[in-house]
Amino acid sequence: MAEVEETLKRIQSQKGVQGIIIVNSEGIPVKSTLDNQSTVQYSALIHQLVMKARSTLRDIDPQNDLTFLRVRSKKNEIMIAPDKDYFLIVIQNPSA
């Protein structure tokens, strides 16, 4: 658990990072640096997005799989690293 903490700290120390969330495969947040409400909201919505993105890719080519997803918006950027069991969501504000 300490390892996890340590790596999360590394990410947190990067410039502009607003929050980190680790979500399990069902969309339930496991660890987060944001407040509860935002965490829950992000994890539910992004989980759906990742499922959709993944299924899209695999429909096109079954050998393919999603490795990284970046959503750029006006205010910030959401980076998602999906895995078999979990995914890692990082919200960053690049201009800050």
Binding site: M1, E3, V4, T7, R10, I11, Q14, K15, G16, V17, I22, N24, E26, G27, I28, P29, V30, K31, V40, S43, A44, T67, F68, R70, R72, E77, M79, A81, D83, K84, D85, Y86, F87, L88, V90, Q92, P94
Partner: protein
């Protein structure tokens, strides 16, 4: 069965006698040995057989009609049925062989052949017998219907009456006394009852018609009708759902965090994430370079007529009203498109001359550039006026003699609105009249109320402004909540060194007096062409200010002389305000009373400080709240700061429409931009121009742009973001005389106008081009940054200045000290000299360092080192 057969002795003789009796030449029949002829056979018929064949004696068959024709088939049937018992059995063969179908049975009552019946065996005999006259006669009844032979029955009886006997002739002799004529007449027998005997018909009571019941068939058929019906299948549909997100409890989370799979995941994914974050830091991957090149203005202007200078839209001038007059103040109508009000006043040089037309505020409209829409009458020249922000029909103005006036133009607003570009003016006839008449057609509105002379300003009112509808001010200057949400208070300033606060409502105590004292106001007006609205009758001539604020000088005695002021226009635009604006017109000012200050809620977030520009070119920052000093009397506090930035009278102090704390002030030969809160000085102070800056005005759509008017009649457009030392555009000699007033206005997003008024009484409207009203990218952000930077640099500069002066002083001191040194004989000179030298060199080094820091160290000396 009781045989009824009666045996009668057959009478041969009769039979023969019959034959003989006929005497018709018939050959006598051959007789058999049996005693009867061969062609007949005497039969004995039992009663059963008689009944069967309908030849019962004395019923069917009689003496008179002894013949009966029997069908051969019936006889055969009978024989079959009863076989030997049948009466016809002895003649069985003959019957079978009989050629014809019918056999004759004759009833013989005389028993001629020994039996009652005998059957004729041959058809010839049958015919013979039947055709004998006896037979014929007796068969009359059995005769088949023959064709009707006319015996004369169809003929009409011609002779209804047939005499049966000869008419009897009777001769009667009547012995009468008088041998008169005899007259016979007819007599109806029905007349008298004796004449006839009648058998009348009568209802036989015994006669009854028996009613019999007959069966009648009835069938009930059901009426069938097809009908259909459909029910709406109610599909249960969720209309609301409420859900909660699934979450892990803390224990679960901890267990998960300890799992190996999570470790693996982190190990795998975190480097990726770090890489992405790093990428982000290096370069903005998603930046669209092409788009970033755009400067914010539309690159493709296909209108073709792009100009980035001010374009003259309209010029308003009127010979009658504007002759030898100057415009002292101008205002756009806040709501009606294209209507501007200008205040015409006498020029300074021409005070002594008699002026043709009285002081007026003239309303111009875009739709009619040749003549004004209507005029507002004033008792004296107006130097400043303003439309009420909540009700544009109320106008407050300040006079040359220090009085404050109120107008209500709600009666004439429809008149102006009718002359909007969309509607046709029906007064085409006015062209036929000459100018004098058209002048009289212009309505003139008289002022509603004027302040009491004693309590007005003692000097001309130079600036007047309404307080916004969000708050009002108590007698002590405290801002409190404004229940009516309507602008009801006015601030005026005047060179008599005071600012006065006025309220449009009556104070609570004076509820009864005003209405009686001012009924005669209306009748004194020769020029009025319409009645005075009574909106502010309660104030007329008795209007007093609530309180006044004086501006005493900070350091010395005396007071500042305010010319223009500006306060923070605190407006909260909530939904409720917008609604209430619609109902504003129904407000009756005379009914409003100033509420007791305790009842109202104090608003803390209103900024009660304001800036004042004075006659001497100073900018004062002060607070209007009154403080009560030791004696308990309220007096105004001393201003916080005073800046001497302009060298002559300040003619504009205006807040930026974008930033609440940025002000533009013009006066003398320069202009300055101030920030509230920065007490050290102006953020931007421009250079001194050749021409005086007579008026300044912020652009309404671009935070960095403002307009400056000069004495030579030119207008400059400045853009602080582009260049803060030179104007962006210069429009020289727009007018021949100095620009007195300038105001910008935007009606729609595309139409921005700048109204420029000059000393000759001419009003020019310019259209602001797109380049000047479209804000550039992030302009307000940039401006904010700019101002912040400026503030910081100002602070920095001041600090440095302070430090530099201090240092200079120190140097001076040191120099004087040095000079004094050689006069001291006490310390040994060498030592002293060394000490001095070390001290001096230290100082020199220090000086060098400092100057290097400030960047003032001459570079030549540096290069030497």
């Amino acid at each position: 069965m009781a045989p009824k057969a009666r045996k009668r002795s057959p009478s041969k003789g009769r039979g023969k006698g019959k034959g003989k009796g006929k005497g018709k030449g018939k050959a006598s029949r051959p007789s058999t040995s049996l005693g009867y002829p061969e062609d007949i056979f005497p039969l004995v018929l039992t009663s059963a057989t008689q009944e069967l064949f309908n030849c019962r004696i004395d019923e069917d068959v009689t003496e008179k009609s002894p013949f009966k024709l029997l069908k051969k088939d019936d006889i055969i049937d009978d024989m079959k049925r009863r076989a030997a018992v049948s009466d016809f059995s002895p003649v069985k063969q003959t019957v079978l062989a009989y050629p014809e179908e019918e056999m004759l049975l004759v009833f013989d009552s005389n028993l001629t052949y020994g039996q009652f019946f005998y059957l004729v065996l041959t058809p010839e005999s049958k015919d013979r017998i039947l055709k004998s006259p006896e037979g014929e006669e007796l068969l009359m009844a059995d005769k088949r219907p023959q064709f009707w032979i006319s015996l004369g029955s169809e003929k009409e009886i011609e002779e209804p009456i047939k005499e049966t006997r000869e008419k009897l002739r009777l001769k009667l002799r009547v012995d009468r006394a008088v041998q008169s004529k005899v007259c016979f007449s007819d007599r109806d027998c029905a007349e008298s009852k004796d004449g006839h005997l009648e058998c009348t018909s009568y209802e036989d009571s015994k006669f009854k018609i028996k009613k019999l019941l007959t069966d009648c068939g009835v069938q009930a058929v059901p009426m069938i009708q097809t009908n259909s019906c459909q029910t709406m299948r109610m599909v249960p549909k969720d209309t609301f759902t409420q859900y909660e997100p699934r979450e892990f409890s803390t224990e679960e989370k901890e267990t998960i965090l300890k799992e190996q799979s999570l470790m693996n995941f982190c190990k795998a994914q975190i480097p990726r994430m770090l890489f992405a974050l790093q990428q982000e830091e290096i370069i903005n991957v998603f930046l669209d370079d092409w788009k970033a090149l755009a400067t914010g203005l539309e690159a493709c202007d296909w209108s073709g007529q792009v100009s980035d200078t001010l374009v003259l839209h309209q010029v308003f001038t009127d010979q009658k009203f504007a002759k030898s007059k100057t415009i002292s103040c101008l205002n756009w109508h806040p709501t009606i498109y294209g209507v501007i009000a200008v205040a015409m006043t006498k020029r300074h040089e021409e005070l002594a001359e008699a002026v043709s037309s009285p002081p007026l505020i003239v309303f111009y409209s875009f739709s009619n550039p040749s003549s004004p829409q209507f005029l507002l009458e004033c008792p004296d020249d107006i130097l400043a006026f303003q439309f009420s922000p909540s009700n544009p029909n109320i106008i407050v103005g300040g006079c040359l003699n220090g009085q404050v006036l109120l107008w209500d133009i709600s009666a004439h607003v429809t008149f102006i609105q009718a002359t909007q570009p969309g509607s046709r003016r029906e007064s085409i006839n006015s062209d036929k009249f000459d100018l004098n008449d058209s002048r009289e057609n212009i309505p003139i509105v008289r002022f509603c109320a004027v302040s009491a002379l004693e309590s007005s300003h003692k000097a001309p009112v130079t600036d007047v402004q309404w307080l916004p509808p969000t708050f009002e001010v108590t007698m002590m200057g405290l801002p409190v909540e404004n229940k009516q949400k309507v602008s009801i208070q006015i601030i005026t300033c005047s060179p008599d060194c005071t600012l006065r606060f006025w309220d449009v409502r009556l104070p609570a105590e004076f509820s009864n007096t005003p209405t009686e004292s001012t009924p005669t106001v209306d009748h004194k007006t020769p020029m009025t062409t319409c009645s005075v609205p009574e909106t502010f009758k309660h104030l007329d001539r008795t209007w007093k200010p609530m309180f006044r604020v004086s501006l005493s000088k900070i350091d010395t005695k005396g007071e500042y002389v305010p010319m223009k002021f500006s306060f923070e226009n605190f407006i909260t635009t909530t939904e409720r305000d917008k609604e209430i604006k619609g109902t504003e017109a129904l407000l009756d000012y005379s009914q409003l009373k100033i509420p007791a200050s305790e009842k109202l809620k104090e608003m803390d977030n209103i900024n009660t400080k304001f800036f004042v520009g004075t006659e001497n070119g100073e900018i004062i920052y002060s607070d209007w709240k009154l403080e009560s000093d030791d004696s308990g009397r309220p007096h105004s506090s001393k201003p916080f700061a005073c800046f001497n930035s302009h060298h002559w009278l300040v003619n504009t102090v205006q807040r930026s429409p974008f930033f609440k704390d940025i002000l533009l002030s013009t006066g003398g030969w320069n202009f300055a931009i101030w920030k509230e809160g920065v007490m050290d000085g102006p953020l931007v102070a421009s250079q001194y121009f050749e021409q005086e800056c007579t008026v300044g005005c912020w652009s309404l759509s671009r935070p960095a742009v403002f307009f400056i008017g000069k004495t030579d009649g030119s207008v400059e457009i400045w853009d602080l973001l582009k260049n803060s030392s030179e104007p962006l555009q210069l429009h020289p000699h727009i007018s021949k005389s100095k620009i007195t007033c300038m105001k910008a206005c935007s009606f729609t997003a595309k139409q921005h106008f700048l109204a420029v008024a000059d000393d000759l009484g001419v009003l020019r409207i310019f259209e602001i081009p797109k380049a000047l009203y479209l804000p550039s990218r992030h302009e307000s952000l940039s401006m904010k940054k700019y101002f912040d930077l400026e503030a910081e640099s100002l602070k920095d500069y001041l600090k440095r200045e302070e430090f530099w002066t201090k240092h200079k002083k120190e140097e001076e001191e040191h120099k004087t000290k040095l000079k004094k040194e050689p006069e001291k004989p006490e310390t040994p000179p060498k030592e002293i000299h060394r000490l001095d030298l070390t001290e001096y060199s230290d100082d020199l080094i220090l000086e060098e360092e400092l100057l290097q820091d400030m960047g003032l160290w001459p570079i030549a000396v540096e290069s030497e080192r």
